[in-house]
Amino acid sequence: MKRRGRGIACMWYPIGFTVAANASAAVVKVNEDGTATLLTGTVETGQGALTVLGQIAAEELGVATDDVHVVSGDTDTTPMDTGAIASRTTYVTGNAVRLAAEKAKAILFEVAAPLLGVRADQLEARDRKIQVKAFPQRFLPIGEVANHAQLIKGQPAIGSASWNPPTVAMDPETGQGKPFNTYVYATQIAEVDVDDETGEVEVLRIVAAHDCGTAINPMLVEGQVEGGISMGIGFALQEEILFDKTTGRQLNPNLTNYIMPTSLDMPDIEVDIVDSYDPTGPFGAKGVGEPTSVPTAAAILNAIHNAVGVRIMSLPATAEKVLAAIKEKKGRQPKQISAA
């Protein structure tokens, strides 16, 4: 018989390296027509990081996402970057990108100020315009300013910057210190059906509420959450590298015997991005990559416990393991013998 259960798990997760420096640098070049090119040493690993970095540069320059072309991943042409690791790209590389764009923008302001008859600090960049704060009627298109900067003033709008999260080393005896600059938080709740005759677990639904600071691109955040959950389901229920105990060789190094969840195993996923703003991140953003797969297994295992009353102490909770636990529990329960 299928028994339904629900389980909750929350988590915290840091952004960036543990104490160690993990800097990123970036270069932003505003072209003569007001479009821009961003150079970054990170690599697109499928998560959409380059889109997010482009959006951060665009926001700072007051242009649209499509106005920024991102060049990445070439050690000859792009500045150093610690890379796509530790959920750090939006936060660390994003801060470097924002600072580089800010420097390029400062050149545009300097050029535009005399043309608009105001001081540079009275200007802002919005909607592809350089305009006077609180008097937006007085403006110049950003392309006109960029063109003037490069071709009349001989002062191309190029900015470069780097950023590294500030940390404090941990005491070797007590571990006290500030190993990370910021953390994100999340909760996932899983609903499962457990077949108490076969031990099979089916994940029906996962509700995920995640904090990533400002969501620079909510669609990509949702994508990360869904992908992280699929990894979490494999970790919870199926995936396991097995070793021959005498030779130490792997027994299942292939996708026939190492079972991963497929699209058919995916539950309904409902994602909420919790309101949050971190002043140390670019436009309040933190990160989301890794945390998405952190609480999934815990939530599923708690749901199994809620459904059939057994606590599985080791992952993965395969059908065999769940069934064995159910049988053991039944064996322990006193039988109800009706009075003769």
Partner: protein
């Protein structure tokens, strides 16, 4: 020998299974029909909007993915390019007595063979440089490479691996991390002990906390080894040009560190090396350090040709990093209301044969193992241990999914024992703005309670009770 190569090619041909006469057609290369792209159009509106932050902007590489036009490394080729394959040890712990590559080198189509002793600096690793690119003296796990071949086709390279004869003297091996910690256990990297990093996080007085507790809960949790399983395996193409400059296209996720590692192993100045990170078909932490890049570069130098290497799925499992299995002992003391008064945690991480990113994983696992909860009295000790198994390294979460499974299972057991709702006990203990973390750090922009309440509301936690 030529005949052997031909036989192999025939066996691979799909034409063998087809009726006579049809083979002729199949010899034509498969050519995709021309597809005109709507190049002028289709910049989605959302990419044209300001402000840019907060927009659900589509990815510029999305169209390429959708049209099947993304070029991964295996889609790339250079004139005269060779294909490399690496021979794997298949034995978990051994001394290499001899390697005979002569039969492989004599095969038609084989252009070069490389062994570990030819690599200028045959070691790498982000924390300790304990990993050889190709095992030269000792084998530390069954997935270790022992020799590499570059040949005109991948098939010839695979066949050549069979002709390389390696003589091993088997050595004792250890596979269980707890056994490996014991005195007298076989030392994986002698003379060093098997425990290669430890981490302690201490706060308050746990014993006093336990003494003041209403109830104490204990549990031991274990997790397994898993692989990242990216769709695209580790892949790279290296070209050593006549000016002595090396260009490597690679699926690496962090090219700055990769370039430094390649420079170190090849003993070249950094400015003679160019790494180009292509679009990566999934990383999840598994592509954060070099693997075969210097091997391909040296094969390219030997042959004067570009050399491509693409891991098989099996190599992806046995020779690339995996997630740490962790044995996690938890002991928690609580008061009557479910408030945590003290927690003691002991973690033993199975580090496999090499350190890789284990030190980082150890640190994160230790710091995060208390959970997002206010705990005045805490004692965490964590160890990472060498075993003669596939090395564990960076993987999405760096130890966090493992400890989260433990601390959240443990939390539900405590809630059940005290007859408190699992949501309520978490809300009671969760960090708030300004809470101090286990390392004494004052936390800001803390929204763990908001995520608990939001998820509970969306799920209908209170209604579905």
């Amino acid at each position: 020998m030529t005949t052997k190569v031909k036989t192999a090619k025939k066996q691979k041909s799909p034409a063998m299974d087809l009726p006579r006469g049809m083979e002729v057609n199949l010899r034509l290369p498969t050519v995709m029909p021309p597809v005109p792209y709507p190049i002028e159009t289709l910049v989605p509106k959302v990419r044209q909007q300001t402000p840019a932050v907060g927009q659900r902007a589509t990815r510029p590489d999305g169209r390429l993915h959708g049209l099947g036009q993304t070029k991964y490394i295996d889609d790339m080729s250079f004139p005269g390019m060779l294909h490399a394959k690496i021979k794997r040890a298949g034995i978990a712990s051994a001394r290499i007595k001899s390697i005979d590559t002569s039969a492989a080198e004599a095969m038609p189509g084989v252009m070069a063979v490389l062994i570990g002793r030819e690599i200028p600096v045959n070691s790498f690793g982000p924390s300790f440089q304990d990993q050889p690119l190709l095992a030269d003296e000792l084998v530390f796990h069954a997935g270790d490479g022992v020799a590499a071949v570059a040949a005109v086709t991948e098939q010839i390279a695979i066949e050549a691996l069979e002709k390389i004869k390696v003589e091993y003297e088997p050595l004792p091996a250890i596979f269980d991390p707890v056994e490996a910690m014991k005195e007298g256990a076989h030392k994986v990297h002698a003379p060093n002990g098997n425990v290669y990093a430890t981490k302690v996080v201490k706060k308050g007085d746990v014993e006093a906390g336990f003494a003041a507790s209403h109830r104490i809960f204990e549990g031991t949790f274990r997790t397994q080894m898993v692989e990242h399983v990216p769709i695209e395996p580790h892949a790279a193409i290296a070209t050593w040009d006549p000016n002595g400059r090396v260009t490597i296209y690679t699926s690496l996720g962090r090219i700055t560190l990769g370039r430094a590692d390649v420079a170190r192993t090849l003993k070249l100045p950094i400015n003679r090396i160019r790494l180009i990170g292509t679009i990566v078909g999934g990383n999840f932490g598994g592509k954060n350090e070099i693997t075969q890049e210097p091997i391909l570069a040296l094969l390219s130098r030997k042959t004067g040709r570009s050399v491509k290497g693409v891991y098989s799925r099996e190599e992806e499992f046995i020779s690339s990093t995996t997630r740490h299995p962790i044995i996690m002992d938890y002991k928690t003391g609580v008061d009557k209301d479910g408030r945590i008064l003290a927690r003691k945690v002991r973690l033993v991480l199975d580090g496999g044969a090499y350190c890789s990113w284990s030190e980082t994983t150890l640190g994160k696992a230790a710091i995060l193992s208390a959970g997002p909860y206010n705990i005045e009295n805490l004692h965490v000790e964590a160890y990472v241990v060498y075993t003669n198994k596939t090395m564990t390294g960076a993987m999405r979460g760096f130890g966090a999914p493992q400890v989260c499974f433990a601390y959240e299972s443990h939390m539900d057991d405590i809630a059940e024992g005290l007859n408190i709702d699992p949501l309520e006990i978490r809300l009671l203990n969760a960090f708030g703005e300004g809470s101090a973390s286990p390392t004494g750090q004052v936390l800001h922009s803390v929204v763990v309670r908001d995520t608990l309440l939001k998820a509970a509301e969306r799920f209908g936690w209170k209604e579905s009770r």
